[in-house]
Symmetry: C2
Amino acid sequence: MFLNRLENVYKHMELEGLNQAIISDSNAIFYLYGTFLHVGERMIALYLRRGEQPILVLNDLFSFEDSDTRVVYYNDKDFGPDKLLPYISHHEALGIDKSFPSRFLISLMDLHAASAYKTCKAVDYARFVKDELEQKLMIESSHINDLCMEDFTNALRIGMSELEMQEECYRIYKKHGIDRVSFTPIVAFKATAADPHHEPDSKTILEDGDMVLFDVGGVYKNYCSDMTRVFFTKKPTAFEEKIYNLVRKANEEAIKGVKPGVKLSDIDLIARNIISNAGYGKYFTHRLGHFIGIEDHDFGDVSSSSEIIAKEGMIFSIEPGIYIKDKIGVRIEDLVMVTKDGVEVLNEFSKDITILNLC
Amino acid sequence: MFLNRLENVYKHMELEGLNQAIISDSNAIFYLYGTFLHVGERMIALYLRRGEQPILVLNDLFSFEDSDTRVVYYNDKDFGPDKLLPYISHHEALGIDKSFPSRFLISLMDLHAASAYKTCKAVDYARFVKDELEQKLMIESSHINDLCMEDFTNALRIGMSELEMQEECYRIYKKHGIDRVSFTPIVAFKATAADPHHEPDSKTILEDGDMVLFDVGGVYKNYCSDMTRVFFTKKPTAFEEKIYNLVRKANEEAIKGVKPGVKLSDIDLIARNIISNAGYGKYFTHRLGHFIGIEDHDFGDVSSSSEIIAKEGMIFSIEPGIYIKDKIGVRIEDLVMVTKDGVEVLNEFSKDITILNLC
C-alpha cells in the first residue's frame, strides 16, 4: 500500500468531517495499492478509519494480499453489504466514494449501517495533486503521445475513412508499446470535427483540402495522455486560419495563466474571453479542461464553475474549441502540470499551422 | 423507444411497489432505446412514471432524439441532480437503478427529492426474459463464437505464450466481424487454468502435452456470447480424463434439468451434487452460471442462493468447473435458452475429449 497516499486520503477525510469511509472505485483502489481489482458487478469495499488497519471486503473469486490491509472475503452465496456491516461504526456518518453503486448504498441504509451517508471525495481530492512517481509517468505518457501524433500524420492517406485512420491509431500506439488507449481515438475529417465527441465513421473519406482533427491518448503504465491537434491538407482559407489562430491563442494564453494559487475558473475565463471577444463565444460549448491521471477524466475540471485552486503537482487539460455545425471544428489540447512557480506543458507537439503533404 | 420493453419495465416497477424510478445504467438505456449513450462521469437519468412521458436528463454535450421521450438538457455549469429534481414526486418513494452512482443519489437525498429510496431492479427483471429480436441476436452471437473457437484451436502452436494466443483471439474475432469482446479472452495453458479468472501472461508457454482452456466471447450487434472449452494436446491421463468427464457430466445434466418452472438454485444443485458426490465439491468454487445478453454478466445468476424461476426466453450460462491449485483447471460452459417446454443450447461446439495435433 502507498502509505503516503493513504495518509493524504485521511487528511482529506478529516477536512470532510469524516471518521470512516468506504472506497470502492477501482481507480481509487489502484491509486492506493498500485493494483487493479476488476470485480465486475460484485461488491468491493475498502473500509478506512484512521488509526485502524484498512479492511478490504472482497469476493473470494479474487485474491489479494497486502501487508498493511486486512482482507475479508465473502463468497457468491453471501450478500456483500452484510459482510461489511460489522466493521462500520453505526452511530457515525459514513463517507461513500463517488461511484459506489446505489444498490449497495441502499442496502447499507436499510441495514442502518451508519447515522448518515455523505459523498466522500477524499481519494479524488488526494489524486488532484500527483506525487513524484505519478508526475514522472504522466510526463513519459505525454511524451509517447507526442511521438504517436507524428506517426498519425504520416499514416494519413487521401481516400481513407475516419474509421480506417482510427485503426491505424491503435496500430501505432501498439508499435509504441501502448496496449490501451485513454479513450476511443477521435479522428475527424472535414466538418465532422464540429461535434466535440465525434465517433469516427466509415463514410467520411479524407479528401484533398480537408482539415483533420486528432483527439487521442494512450495509457502508459496506467497513466493517461490526452492531446488534440488539427492539421490542414492545403493552405487554409482566411476563415480557417482565423478560427485556428483564435483557438490557439485561447489555448496558449490560458496556459500562461496557470500557476499555484490561481483559481481554475479564472483560467477558463481567460480562454473563454478570447473566444467570446472575437464573437465566437457561443461556439465554445464545453469546459476548458479536465483533470487526468489514472483516468482520462480524473475528478475535477477547469470550468467557469470550478472552485479548485491551482496547486503544485496538479495535472489537467487545456482544450478550448470552436464548433460551427456543418462548417468547422477546431480544438487544441495540451496537458499541463502546475509547477512550483508556474506551469510545465507536457505536450511538445507543435501548434503551428501545419499543412500536410498527403498522397 | 421499444415501447413493449418499457411496458415490461412498468410492470416490474408495479411489482416492486414503485410509481417512479430513475434509470441510469447505459445498458438499461440501450435496452429501452437501442442506442448507447456513453456519458462518462456526467449524470444521465431517465425518469419513468407510468402514464407520463419518460424524461431523459442529459448533458448537452450529447445529443439524443426520441419521439416518445422528453429530453431535458443541462450543461457543465449545472449540477445534474438539480435539473432532475423538479420532475420527481417528493412525497413518494423513488426507485433507483442498480448502478446510479452514489454521489448523485446522496445529492438527491440532500435535496429531499423523495420520501424514500429503493433499489429498482425493474429493467433488470425485464431483461431476464429476452424478446424475439434479442433471442435471434443471442443465437447468432453464440453461433459466431462456435466458429471462432474452431479457429482458436487451429491457431495454437507449441512454443507460443498465453498472451500471444490471446492476441490471436482478438484477430480471429475481428476476422469474423466481431470488433468487441464480451470480456478479455481467458487463455490458460497447464495449471494456470486452476484460477477461474486467470489473466493470460507471457511467461506461460504452450508445451506438448499441456491442457488448454479457452473462456471466450464476442459481442455481435451488442449481444454477448460466452463459452468455455478445454482441449488436450496429448492423450489425457486417467486423472485428467476423470476430472474432464466429471465436469462435462455436471454441465450436461444441469442443462437437461432446465425447463420453465424450475428453480435455478436446483439447476445449480444438480451440477454441484455430481461434482460433490465424486469428492471434488470443494474445488467447484463459484456459482454455476450467470445471465447474459447486452452485458456479459446481465443481472441474475444460477447459484445455490438464486431465487429465480426459469421462464421461457431466459438465457444464462451453465459453467461448472473443478480447480485444483498447481494441478488442473477444467470448466465447460455453454449458453442455454429456456424454451416453451425445455431448453435450447446456444453453443454447438463439441464437448467430446479432443486431442489437438499441434506443430
